[in-house]
């Protein structure tokens, strides 16, 4: 087995198209900003959180693989490492939201800070200085850790040093602690904080659950693209897709569990200060989305992904991933936008522009970086296990 066997020379295409989409999106963003600031910020924040969730979810995936010493995921881990390393770029893409100020976070309004009793009570947390310090901390920590994992893993491609794996395992433990708090408080600050009166202890977990679902969708779709591009069915194995599919299924059930628990406890106790959240989401066309999510985010994918024939069929699995990723977007849309458009859902130019702009740059940066090194962590000491592990399914497929 020669070393070169695992140095993949193929490159993932599509970079220029995504760059073009990003530029076009940016222009359209400016147009929509001119038309209506509120629309623009609502849409931009939604699209931003969608792509941020892909990155943070992938970051979670990477350190969990190290903590669990898992071998199964080695070849597909590079995708997650690379997309997690988009987090520093996400900091730049967040600048428009920060500039939005009180158009995004209503409590930043001086008037509200002074006169709203609840906001006033929370002044120790809800004040601009602390908000920006926290924000810098989230992105700073994410940058340090995500770049560490990508760079160390790439270094290992050359050195094949197993000591690096041990080291990454140790750093992963610290990354877990940092991640749990930073992602929770990001969700508190920038999604829950859109309505400064409302609160839920589960909120951070809810955002996390969605981000992991999204992460698996991205991972499966990208790995499917790499499998097609490289033609290396021995590296991007059907077993990988099957196992990632199982985890996608499991995490989607977890999302449902968290979402249901949050809704259920608030619905049952029916206390005005909490129920308002769902009251806002029962207004106008929001009600339709609220009722759609349990069916389209949970029930349909649950039945669809239950079959292992679907999980082992890459086209069928990819269809499921596109579906679920769309649902994750709608979920974030449903979390964020009722704070801006109380009357009903309002999908328009600004939403398309934001998705194009952030998504275009996000994918362009991802592909460029992925192509700049080997497509798999070929120096990982668990690579051999990854290429041969057996997930227990006996099939008649030819490998």
């Amino acid at each position: 087995m020669s070393k070169d066997n695992y140095r993949l020379n193929d490159k993932l295409g599509g970079g220029p198209i995504f760059l073009g989409a990003g530029v076009l999106g940016a222009v359209l963003c400016v147009v929509s900003f001119m038309q209506n600031r509120k629309d623009f910020f609502a849409s931009y924040l939604t699209a931003f959180c969608f792509f941020l969730a892909i990155s943070t979810g992938s970051f979670f995936f990477v350190f969990v693989q190290h903590l669990a010493r898992s071998a199964w995921s080695v070849t597909i881990r590079r995708v997650s490492e690379t997309v997690a390393a988009n987090l520093p770029w996400m900091a730049l893409l967040f600048i428009p939201v920060v500039l939005g100020g009180k158009d995004v976070l209503p409590w930043l309004d001086k008037n509200m800070m002074a006169n709203d009793a609840l906001v006033h009570m929370k002044h120790g947390y809800l004040n601009p200085t602390f908000l920006y310090i926290r924000l810098a901390a989230y992105f700073g920590l994410w940058t340090v850790f995500s770049l560490y994992f990508l760079r160390t893993s790439r270094k290992q491609d050359e050195s094949k040093d197993p000591a690096l794996t041990t080291q990454m395992g140790k750093v992963a433990a610290g990354a877990a602690a940092v991640f749990a708090l930073s992602q929770t408080f990001f969700a508190f600050d920038w999604i829950m904080g859109l309505d400064p009166h409302w609160f839920s202890t589960m909120f951070g977990v809810y955002f996390f659950a969605g981000s992991v679902v999204l992460q698996y969708c991205f991972l499966i779709l990208t790995s499917a693209a790499l499998r097609r591009k490289t033609g290396r069915k021995d590296i991007f194995r059907t077993d990988h897709f099957h196992d990632a599919g199982k985890l996608l299924f499991g995490h989607n059930v977890f999302w449902t569990y968290i979402g249901f628990s949050q809704f259920f406890l608030i619905w049952y106790a029916n206390m005005p200060e909490e129920t308002l959240f769902f009251q806002h989401r029962a207004a106008g066309s929001w009600k339709f989305i609220s009722l759609m999510l349990p069916w389209c985010h949970f029930a349909i994918p649950f039945l669809y992904l239950m079959s292992w024939h679907v999980k082992r069929n890459i086209v069928a699995l990819s269809v499921g991933c596109v579906w679920l990723a769309t649902m994750c977007y709608i979920d974030l849309y449903w979390l964020i936008q009722p704070n801006f458009h109380q009357a009903g859902a309002h999908f328009g130019l600004s939403d398309i522009a934001s998705i194009l702009a952030i998504g275009g740059f996000f994918l362009f940066l991802f592909i460029r970086r992925l192509n700049s090194a080997n497509l798999i962590p070929s120096g990982d000491p668990r690579l051999a296990d990854c290429l041969t592990y057996d997930n227990g399914v006996i099939t008649n497929e030819q490998h």
Partner: protein, 468 residues
């Protein structure tokens, strides 16, 4: 160079030390075939006496009524619910450990799965006692089940206490089925080694005529996989439903949305702790060092570190959101927990559940048996206090004139201590008369069990099987 598992310093061997199937059979079956040791008999007698104390206390309670307990206004839920949640939490980990580790193909589970499943069943029995006896009019306990009756009265399906009935009874039944399913092949092993007629006869009945057929194994393995797959959400649902008992209410400190996953994490945490406590004892008493190895304990310690930290995260979220909500009742409830009359229970909880497991960051401690034994005991104490802290929030409710201080009575205390007798009795009987480890599974994860054992290292292990 690509390292293989065997040469890889970052992966530890996951398997038993011996390579001989017969030796594994011997190690696991001999304790059940020899005469009970004096230690075992003494322990059993102790457990039986505690059990009789429990029976006596319950009899006294039925005779006198719930007034013999310390519950009163404002604390209407005392030790009974604390003990219920504590035991059921411990019980939750067993099946979850077994099922989740199975689904994640963690082969080291074989060292602990049978133990933890048995522990689950006995812990759920202990837990089930408390809601069963607390109802006051014990003679109408059948009201909790939807049984058609001449009064035309049905249970209230909107009450979390009724969901509990369904959740706990389902959980108990499914745990027994899961456990028994795993036992079938091992009972066949016992049957085939039986030397006396009576033993052979009894084991033949329970082994159901198992003959290790590959055609049977195929259905068996699939059924076991499905059972594991449904046990996982079951565990989550059951402890979530237990948390609903508190969280659907409007009581400050109880009504918080993170309760369901927080309770589940706590349950896994305490369950791991008790499994390890018992495992360490059994390993010492029965000499299971070859099968229950240090790195199994290491893995369990890491799990406790993880779940302990998750519980810590939940405590932190509760505190933060209580403050952030701006709700004065909510803020007071947490202030009162930490600095009020029951401050000591809050800080016992925090130090045992959040601080103690942090010691597991150090490898030396993860490999030190006396220290890990102490930490697991601390965790169990801490998890009991967690439920105590939650329940006792009632002592200072919305109306300051009715605030009061709750104390358990001697009946409360001895009923709780007595449940250890119930647990101990069943557990000792299990240890003596049933396979303590899953014989078939331990053999199945040995390298020699692989039909491609000794083939070329780089040949895909499953590829040959799949090529047809």
């Amino acid at each position: 160079m690509i390292l293989h598992r065997d040469d890889d310093p970052t992966r530890r061997p996951t398997l038993v030390e011996t390579g001989d199937f017969h030796e594994v059979t011997d190690i696991i079956t001999i304790p059940a075939e020899t005469k009970p040791t004096a230690t075992w008999v003494i322990l059993l007698l102790m457990s039986l006496s505690l059990l009789s104390v429990m029976v006596g206390m319950i009899g006294y309670l039925f005779w006198e009524g719930t007034g013999v307990w310390g519950v009163n206004v404002p604390v209407g839920w005392g030790w009974a619910i604390v003990n219920f949640v504590w035991w059921i939490g411990i019980g939750h980990a067993g099946t979850l450990i077994s099922a989740i580790l199975f689904l994640f193909r963690q082969r080291w589970r074989t060292a602990i799965n049978r133990f933890s499943e048995a522990m689950t069943i006995f812990a759920v029995m202990c837990a089930g006692i408390f809601p069963g006896i607390h109802v006051g009019r014990i003679w109408v306990i059948y009201f909790v089940f939807p049984i058609p009756n001449s009064m035309g009265v049905w249970p209230n399906f909107r009450s979390p206490l009724l969901w509990d009935v369904f959740a706990v009874s389902t959980y108990f039944t499914v745990s027994v089925l899961f456990w028994y399913m795993g036992l079938i092949p091992d009972l066949a092993t016992f049957r085939d080694r039986a030397t006396t007629k009576v033993r052979g006869f009894i084991l033949s009945i329970f082994a159901l005529g198992w003959r290790g057929s590959a055609r049977h194994w195929q259905n068996y393995e699939r059924a076991y996989l499905i059972l594991a797959a449904i046990s996982t959400p079951l565990v989550l649902s059951v402890h979530s439903i237990v948390s609903f008992d508190f969280a659907v209410s409007k009581v400050p400190g109880w009504h918080t949305t993170i309760f369901p996953p927080y309770f589940v994490a706590g349950a896994v945490f305490s369950g791991f702790a008790l499994v390890e406590t018992l495992l360490l004892i059994a390993r010492q008493v029965f000499g299971l060092h070859k099968v229950v190895r240090m790195h199994h304990l290491d893995n369990m310690n890491k799990f406790m570190l993880l779940t302990g930290s998750l519980v810590g995260y939940a405590y932190g979220m509760e505190l933060f959101i209580a403050w952030y909500s701006g709700n004065m009742y909510e803020r007071f409830a947490f202030y009162n927990r930490a600095l009020g009359e029951y401050w000591w229970s809050y800080w016992i909880m925090v130090s045992c559940n959040v601080i103690a497991p942090q010691l597991f960051w150090f490898k030396k401690i993860r490999f030190n048996i006396p220290i890990m034994f102490i930490i697991t005991i601390l965790i169990n104490i801490g998890m009991w206090f967690e439920r105590f802290v939650i329940v006792i929030t009632l002592h200072a409710d919305f109306l300051p004139s009715s605030w009061g201080y709750y104390r358990p009575t001697w009946v409360d205390i001895w009923t709780y201590i007595g449940t250890f007798g119930l647990f101990g009795t069943f557990f000792l009987l299990f240890l003596k008369y049933l396979p303590q480890l899953a014989i078939a599974e331990v053999k199945g994860v040995m390298p020699e069990a692989n039909p491609h054992f000794g083939d070329d290292h780089h040949a895909p292990a499953g590829a040959n099987a799949k090529g047809h």
